[in-house]
Symmetry: C2
Subunit: 142 residues, 2 copies
């Protein structure tokens, strides 16, 4: 398999994650993740969750309380090394709520492992982008 096609496989796995998110169906999300006590997930603003059970419970809670979300990905950078890949991308999110539509951006890191030929998500980390210019920090600068 060439690196280019490997990268394309990872891109598809990453897309599957966001389509599962949009579906708001836990079953779809289960198909994306590696079923392991090692998997981790840090939702924007949340503390890190560890283990498949905790991560799936978080998706259940999110899906129960979400009306509709649409993800448009930009600045997608894919790195593949052996049976590990990581995707860094910007999630441009359109959230449909009962009282209207809102837009937001989240910076994401998604780590995948290849098991039996399939790329499985083992770590998702999303962080909110502050409503500042592209180079404005929100901490560190005292």
């Amino acid at each position: 398999m060439t690196p280019a096609s490997e990268s394309e496989d990872v891109r598809r796995a990453n897309e599957s994650f966001y389509r599962a998110f949009e579906s708001l169906q836990t079953k779809r999300m289960e198909d994306v993740w590696l079923h392991s006590v090692r998997v981790q997930c840090t939702h924007p603003g949340w503390r890190r969750l560890l283990g498949y059970a905790a991560v799936m419970e978080s998706w259940e809670r999110i899906f129960e309380n979400t009306f509709k979300m649409v993800f448009d990905l930009t600045a997608v950078e894919i790195s593949v090394a052996g049976n590990v890949a990581w995707v860094v991308c910007t999630e441009n999110i359109t959230s449909h709520t009962y009282d209207g539509v809102s837009r937001s951006q989240v910076e994401a890191t998604n780590v995948f492992e290849r098991h039996e030929g399939c790329w499985r998500l083992v770590h998702h980390h999303g962080s909110p982008v502050a409503s500042l210019g592209p180079d404005e920090p929100t901490r560190h600068l005292q």
Copy 2:
């Protein structure tokens, strides 16, 4: 090399990153990162930065504006697969500013690649933890 000693090497590389951060010296930070246009960095609340030059410029700006920061790491999970490793941890930060001391927490993902026997940082992603309970989300719940 056994997996246990590999994991220990990655732990040391991760510690070196935080000691470089505490040193507030760009030269120390340069020694930690892979010198590559591929490296990426998402500071808490920032947009993602791509490439060694942009990442180092961000550290220069942070160091110029920081008085003193001390990092205590908890919940450190280390994963190694071939020549890639990722560390997920909680940064417990004590910031010393001109008008006192403040404490904060950041959830971090650090991805390392092994080059010529040395683990080099290729991606750092930090996200602020909201001042909420451990399971309280700040988005998704409409």
